[in-house]
Symmetry: D2
Subunit: 105 residues, 4 copies
């Protein structure tokens, strides 16, 4: 049988109560975040687009621009947007594998 003295029982309690307090604070914060989104929505802003904006603001500018360009290139390659601006020559460098790699995937 593992041997531990009483102080560990007390120490366990302190750890558990500390985590419970932090979890409680976290739930309150998450509730606050939901409230701000619903207030923004009430005055006409779109929470889904606000979340995309926040995600972009976390990214380095170049990274965001690069990702956006690549998304447009992929969309053009799949005919989702007019490929006027792009030619499929703008897709990422291809290592020469044939299509059956994708089919075999």
């Amino acid at each position: 049988m593992q041997i531990i003295n009483n102080s560990s029982a007390n120490q366990l309690r302190l750890f558990i109560e500390k985590i419970e307090r932090l979890e409680e604070e976290k739930s309150e914060l998450m509730e606050n975040i939901r409230e701000v989104f619903s207030e923004a929505k009430a005055v006409g802003f779109d929470p889904k687009v606000m979340k995309q904006l926040i995600k972009l603001r976390k990214m380095k500018h170049e990274e965001a621009v690069e990702q956006e360009e690549l998304l447009d290139i992929y969309r053009a390659a799949l005919g989702m947007i007019p490929s006027g601006q792009f030619t499929t020559d703008d897709l990422p460098p291809h290592t020469g594998e044939s299509d059956n790699d994708a089919e075999a995937a």
Copy 2:
């Protein structure tokens, strides 16, 4: 085109910056929680079992006892624990459906 004056652009910024601050606080809290668990682990406590303990502490005592009893009944019914304490008569009340309901599921 939607019409909104400059003050809404400012209002959007305030909403976004408020959410970003709250998200920042939330990440710090989650980091603190991780730290408490790793400190507890360092002195010999098991974080996985601590999480079960915290989950139980959130439940009403009767609910926790009932769930535990039902789990033992189910385990005995599947031969996972000696069914000495229980007979399959202790499984939840059965509405008389035959087995093919489960098979057909």
Copy 3:
């Protein structure tokens, strides 16, 4: 004590084993999805952008276009992109609340 006959113990087993099989199939599918992404990555495609593309393909075209336009309007309002194309007049209709709503949020 709840009363249930043996057939329910068997029925419980059938339900549990059915769920376990389905969960097993689900893990295999998730593994397959990961493999396709890593194969695409190996020939030069960007999984993160592929996921955005898949998300867009799930949306109705108009919804995707609208969301994209709104994101650009919000970005211009926060000075993240040159607001040449847009004026802050293009932000969503404003209900006249002043800024302190956002501050009070």
Copy 4:
């Protein structure tokens, strides 16, 4: 500008469509799992406890028994269950740190 020939556009399509098919299958499986749980519930079984049972069945028997014992030891240490069976001597081996570690956490 990155240079890639047409076949990559086709390869991208194959990868995307393959992932979409797998995602579709995954959603169907998740729907099937939900159905089995609701059928089990309809004949008197408790889905929450069934999930705990499935979790236990994934664990090695010794690991499950050990975790259960430790949970009871922790519960007794926090006065959640009569500590008759256990003395706080049964808490995991303690490295002698005093309580202020927990307080300082």
